[in-house]
């Protein structure tokens, strides 16, 4: 008989094996299809059990979600990604910028949101560097500029970008983090250097060639904000767009995205990439295919499983309605 800790040992051993694999394990399309069918059948079994009155607990839901999120990483499926209107608007705004345009990239998120936002950051950085846009990085979240550095380091390894010999301070600059939430945006409206007297490496604002002539938002052609909460896109729209008239496009986590839709339809926000699907669409639009295009398969599977559990939940509701009737009859 298996004891509880045996399951833990098996799980940990499995994780260690997967980590130690020299190459990512990818199974063939036939095996992938078989696994998908098996997962579907397992859900059907759960549905049948529920209809027979065996209610499932939340741990079963967690198990299915865990499996549906993990397995697609080893599958060889590609799904067509259609670009939504809001991502297309964002891409069009960035594509319209002529070479040499100054873009402010505000990294307002931290590591937990990185799976959704980091692919967007990397796609944006790669696109900007390839199209000679000058990128000024900043963060209203303490960890934001570090996430930006990680994205920059990654895209600089691309051969096409490496060949450009981009120089820090000339082609891109990281101003770092500044505390003060929306007040930082407010004060940047009058003076960037007032809020960021030095960059992340303690270089004086005036000594950075890229920032020569960059006084405030009127010297910025576009703001790209990556946000997972407060302060974030809402504050950028309410202050930078509304008060200073600069164009702002955004990438948001899926949790946050619905709350900025009102600004999208009123054209205050110039495009939005929401969550993992937005990230995959943005990668496709910029032709910078990265992690989001892989992760989206996991998301597709998990969404299907959640939908399956909503159906199972409603089956449970039907069963609960039926029971008293049977009692009465």
């Amino acid at each position: 008989m298996m004891k509880k800790y045996h399951y833990w040992i098996i799980l940990v051993a499995l994780i260690i094996v997967l980590i130690l694999l020299p190459k990512p394990l990818i199974v063939s399309p036939t095996v992938s299809t078989t696994i998908t069918v098996l997962l579907g059948l397992a859900l059907v079994v759960v549905l049948v059990l529920t209809l027979r009155g065996h209610m499932i607990g939340r741990r079963t839901v967690f198990l299915f979600i865990g499996v549906s999120l993990t397995l697609p990483f080893f599958m060889n499926f590609r799904m067509p990604i259609k670009i939504s209107p809001e991502v297309q608007t964002l891409y069009d705004a960035i594509a319209k910028l002529p070479p040499g345009s100054k873009v402010l990239a505000a990294f307002d998120y931290d590591p937990p949101s990185a799976p959704e936002l980091q692919p967007q950051a990397e796609a944006f950085m790669a696109y900007a560097f390839k199209h000679d846009l000058k990128v000024i990085i900043m963060g209203l979240w303490p960890q934001g500029p570090q996430q930006a550095n990680m994205a920059v380091a990654k895209v600089l390894r691309q051969p096409e970008i490496r060949a450009k010999n981009l120089r820090y301070g000339v082609d891109y600059v990281n101003l770092g983090f500044q505390s003060g939430n929306e007040f930082v945006i407010q004060r940047m409206g009058t003076s960037f250097s007032g809020m960021f007297p030095r960059d992340i490496y303690n270089t004086d604002y005036a000594a950075i060639p890229l920032l020569n002539g960059v006084e405030n938002f009127s010297n910025i052609d576009f703001v790209f904000n990556l946000s997972s909460g407060y302060p974030g896109t809402v504050e950028w729209v309410q202050i930078a767009v509304d008060r200073y008239g600069v164009k702002v496009g955004a990438g948001n986590t899926a949790v946050q995205a619905p709350s900025v839709y009102p600004y999208l339809s009123s054209h205050k926000l110039t495009g939005l990439a929401g969550g993992m699907s937005g990230a995959a669409e943005f990668e496709k639009a910029t032709k910078e295919i990265g992690k989001a295009n892989t992760y989206i398969l996991s998301q597709s599977f998990s969404h299907m499983v959640v939908i399956a559990f909503i159906i199972i939940g409603n089956a449970a509701l039907m069963v609960s309605y039926r029971k008293p009737k049977q009692k009465g009859a």
Binding site: P99, P112, T190, S191, E215, S218, N219, V255, A257
Partner: protein, 404 residues
């Protein structure tokens, strides 16, 4: 030999004739002498205009110009040149990319006079990475004096609605003070507060109050602290343990004072312990993890989530649900309301959070402000309806109101 000389001469002539053709690359660059590039200068912008930026504190001047005739062919950028005198010297106030024809110069001082000209610049990098530029300048214009305004006309519409809302609120507050009975609709979530704490008392378990992850500069946190005062009073009366984990130091200080006062008010100052209100961490998910741990260990009977919440909302509410607590939530974050609705027993949606204190206190002046708020909302709805009808007839009132 002569033939060879003739051949050499003819070859040289052909090469010389071919040179201009060879040098016709995408950029109008020529090779002269020691290969230093000499480049063409674009035509300057034909006209320039500069005027004081409206609705500001006198720290900016708007400069606009007609694009150079060579904008698409040669120009790589425009330089905005500024001087205190027409004769110069001019300094670069800012730059724009080609195709752009406006610039707001924020480097000016109120009351001083300035002169401007615009340079259309063609810039390339030579082989040794040094920049080579060709410039075409416009005429000098000026003097322009930036002026500070005493009212921002773009915010006239905001002022109008603010005055209407405040007038309505103050009117109903005065009515309430004069003794008029005001009807306030039932809010199920607030009515359930007493029951939830009563349940905790019966079960002998704790009550958790989570005031969100925003600081004291957020109105939602202030509203949450107001509700906390009421919750603390009931807890103190019932002798139920109240635990308030907070994520901001200033919130801790304020919440502690509020709970202390509440205990004193019901005559039980000795029952208050400072550590009931304790700081956990500023970090969003660290805070969520800590509360989840406390909830799983202490199994509270009632949980209140009031204030500003983000992605941690569902993590907290699902854990509370799993622990079997009665949960009442209220937030001003529209994105988190669906999560609370899904996982909590009662949810105060948006404005209900702000109405809670008035509802709980039943103080006439507070109720009056609620009534005024509702009246203002009615006016808003009417305005939206009217604007909708106007929009259907092609009249865009928003652009008319935008006085810039």
């Amino acid at each position: 030999m002569d033939r060879l000389k003739t051949l050499l001469f003819l070859t040289s002539v052909v090469i010389l004739l071919c040179l201009p053709a060879l040098s016709q690359t995408d950029t109008p660059l020529g090779l002269v002498g020691d290969a230093k590039p000499v480049i063409e200068s674009p035509a300057g912008p034909p006209s320039v205009e500069a005027k004081d930026t409206k609705n500001d504190d006198g720290s900016a001047i708007d400069v606009s110009w007609q694009l150079s005739a060579d904008d698409q062919r040669l120009v790589t950028k425009y330089q905005v040149l500024r001087s205190r005198s027409a004769a110069g010297p001019f300094e670069v106030a800012g730059e724009t990319t080609k195709g752009q024809h406006t610039y707001t110069d924020n480097g000016v001082k109120v009351g001083d006079s300035y002169f401007y000209k615009i340079a259309a610049v063609y810039e390339i990098k030579s082989a040794d990475s040094t920049s080579v530029t060709g410039k075409g300048e416009s005429q000098v214009i000026g003097p322009i004096k930036p002026i500070a305004q005493w009212f921002n006309m773009r915010r006239l519409n905001v002022l109008f609605w603010l005055l209407v809302t405040c007038a309505a609120i103050l009117f109903y507050i005065m009515q309430a003070k004069s003794g008029k009975e005001l009807y306030v609709r039932k809010i199920a979530g607030i009515d359930a507060v007493d029951d939830a704490i009563g349940r905790a008392t019966e079960m002998g378990r704790k009550v958790f109050f989570v005031p969100g992850i925003q600081d004291m500069d957020d109105v939602a946190t202030i509203a949450a602290i107001t509700i906390l005062g009421r919750v603390a009073r009931i807890c103190a009366t019932n002798d139920t343990m109240l635990d308030v984990p907070v994520s901001k130091s200033l919130v801790m200080v304020t919440a502690r004072e509020s709970v202390r006062e509440a205990y004193s008010r019901v005559g039980r100052p000795d029952a208050f312990k400072e550590d009931q209100v304790h700081y956990v961490t500023d970090d969003q998910f660290g805070y969520a993890a800590a509360i989840d741990g406390m909830v799983m260990r202490d199994k509270p009977a009632a949980m209140f989530y009031m204030g500003g919440f983000f992605a941690e909302a569902l993590i907290l509410a699902e854990t509370g649900n799993n622990a079997g607590a009665i949960q009442i939530a209220g937030t001003n974050q529209p994105a988190q309301i669906p999560f609370f609705v899904a996982a909590c027993d009662y949810t105060l949606i948006g404005e209900e959070l702000f109405a809670a204190s008035a509802y709980l206190e039943r103080e006439p002046r507070l109720l009056g402000s609620l009534k005024g708020q509702d009246f203002a909302k009615g006016l808003f709805l009417l305005a939206i309806f009217l604007l909708l009808i106007l929009a259907m007839f092609g009249i865009n009132w928003v652009t008319i109101m935008d006085v810039s």
